[in-house]
Symmetry: none
Subunit: 400 residues, 2 copies
């Protein structure tokens, strides 16, 4: 559904929606048992919610498409993930609470290792500790190149963000990160004439960084990618008339949520702490996006059993959410991350929606194979928000 | 999914995809047994593949829309069948390996019978043998009308192609074929001013053909339809980075496949011969479109039992495909052709997808009624290629 139409028919109300995103939730069957991670996990609380609610399967972007975290989450928030695709630099900047101005250009940076010939030998500089990253960022931060002010801010381990602030910058430049080792870093080139100045300044920055980092092996060079500008998305407040908040231990997801106008709530990063934060702040907002990262990380590591355990931990903690009696609870993922594939995948993601007003189906367990038969069917993730809003009685009739 | 995005995220790899199209596969239940053609046929091999794979139902164009062969196949290849609709003349020209130039206009022709009053008495001239058609085409071929060169080439039986090559031609002219008997042939008129010259030349061609064919009863006149120009479709090589090939005994399907850049493989026309061709050429390509025509012809003839037998023959021959162990096997049809309707229909078409990476469902037989409960759900046929590509691990992640 078109956001303009949702904006017209949405209406504020005291009802509350909780969107629980179990990152990378969907899986593939363990060849030995024929059961996915979610099907293997003991999840009595999720199964009860599935029994009382209505289930289905979502396609985050489109069948066959493996989404990155950004399109996966934008779709969950109701934004078209194709037309709203957002650069990595912006996402990382948002994740560290960097207040990006409208003309700022952000890029994602890695500290990396290069050998004497200038070839990249480690794209992550041995995953230096965050403290070292912070120290190195201080070396580079505050440079001014041809009138453009640079901000260099640590993220975590080897990762940092660089923000270029000045007149006449455009984001259409290529990455310096070759995305492989054994080759030199790439020249940053303008992809259109408007970006010539940006390419020149980024190139100078890389040269200066190389000099300043010379004595800091293994972090003796930088790699930049995802030069991008903050997009102008309508906020969830504008579209849905919601007062939304995000509870996420991992910076990138807070950044994504901020991009659509969510308030970031201070929280500990464990599952238990996130649910405690929800309880503490429950009175203050009417929409909560609660993000669980561990399932995706376990899937990416190929650790089937750990993913099972984290799903079980979420299930154990779930009464902390259900006892608050939200009007609408949605549980799903931003994409599948099967341990078998050790990465994001294209497979559809189970979803359950619970509300006093849902039309229940016959699904009695929250699993990939049961959700095939759910009353929500298989549908694009962008339709979740209209469904959640409807079940919270926050959408008025369309048309006379 | 937008082809531009698929083009960005597709990547070459050694994995192989086989798309087995059983033309007109979907059916309607025999009132005596309550079973469709596919449900009546004994198909142990397809059922086994359905058990190991994942099933669903496709809509070739859109629910309720009965597709012609061209949109049905374009959708299977991932091209939007509405915006890419291709004229019949072009499809026929492609099917006989006619090398259409960018400005050429092609029309499908029938030799037909007209009586002394000029009324059509047989739109197919008693289905004259191909040899006779070839002889008559030689009579008409090579005419030059107002500087426009005409190519008249036999297809099969009463069918031929005429290609107009010259400056200033446009395809927007009406058909001369009235699509019924007992009426006169229609005047060819321009549907816009740019096509005035085309209409004039086609009208002169029809007049000259009438004179030249006067002594060749029953083939004493021509009917023309589907004036059209070769469209500019991106090839499957460009979009998917595939090296694709077609195995089809029937010219039109080879023509369609060529239009999207597939290599045409020489093959015998029987099911067995087509599977032998697949085996012989298996090493040389990474995508095979294998087309089975007989099911559609049987459906068009209203011959329920023959359609059943042909499906059983495909099933018998299937080990010739599965023994090659393609990474992805897709079995489906371009539309339904229920014997009860004696023609193409709008009913959704069963699909099965087998791959090491598919998330299996509980479907244990390949049939219309079982596929309703498949894990792929019901979806537009244009999504088959992204799904096949994903399961062959040929698509990279979309977005950061």
């Amino acid at each position: 559904m078109n956001l303009e139409i949702i904006r017209e028919i949405s209406t504020p109300s005291p009802t509350k929606i909780v969107l629980l995103v179990i990152d990378g939730l969907g899986g593939l069957p363990n060849p030995e048992t024929g059961k996915t991670e979610l099907e293997t996990a003991k999840t009595p609380n999720l199964d009860q919610l599935a029994t009382k609610g209505v289930c289905g399967l979502i396609d985050p972007v489109s069948p066959g498409i493996t989404p990155g975290s950004t399109p996966g989450h934008l779709a969950l928030f109701g934004y078209d993930p194709v037309s709203c695709n957002i650069g990595r630099g912006v996402v990382e900047a948002m994740g560290i609470d960097f207040d990006l101005g409208p003309g700022d250009i952000a890029a994602r940076g890695n500290f990396c290792t290069v050998d004497e010939a200038g070839q990249v030998t480690d794209r992550r500089a041995g995953r230096i500790p965050t403290e070292k990253c912070t120290e190195l960022c201080r070396l580079l931060d505050g440079l001014v190149i041809e009138g453009v002010r640079l901000f260099v801010c640590p993220v975590r381990e080897h990762r940092f963000v660089v923000v270029f602030r000045g007149e006449g910058l455009a984001p259409e430049v290529s990455d310096s990160d070759p995305q492989q080792v054994g080759v030199a870093t790439r020249a940053i080139v303008a992809l259109n004439p408007q970006a010539d100045m940006m390419a020149a300044i980024a190139t100078q920055f890389v040269a200066q960084a190389k000099k300043l980092l010379a004595g800091h092996y293994p972090a003796n060079m930088v790699l930049l990618r995802g030069f991008s500008q903050r997009p102008h998305l309508p906020t969830m407040g504008e579209v849905y008339k919601l007062k939304p908040a995000v509870i996420a231990g991992y910076p990138m997801y807070r950044g994504l949520a901020k991009l659509v106008g969510m308030q970031v709530l201070e929280t500990g990063a464990s599952i238990k702490e996130e649910f405690v934060t929800l309880k503490q702040k429950y009175a203050d907002y009417d929409f909560f996006f609660l993000h669980i990262k561990g399932t995706d990380s376990a899937g990416e590591d190929g650790d089937f059993d750990r993913k099972v355990r984290i799903i079980e931990e979420v299930d154990n903690t779930l009464p902390g959410l259900t006892s608050l009696e939200p009007d609408v609870i949605v549980v799903t993922g931003d994409h599948s991350t099967p341990a078998l594939l050790k990465g994001h995948s294209w497979h559809p993601v189970p979803i359950l929606l619970y509300s006093k007003w849902c039309r229940t189906d016959r699904v009695g367990e929250f699993s990939e194979s049961a959700c095939i038969f759910g009353g929500l069917g298989r549908f694009p993730a962008t339709q979740i928000m209209p469904l959640a809003m409807a079940h919270a009685l926050k959408l008025t009739k369309f048309g006379a």
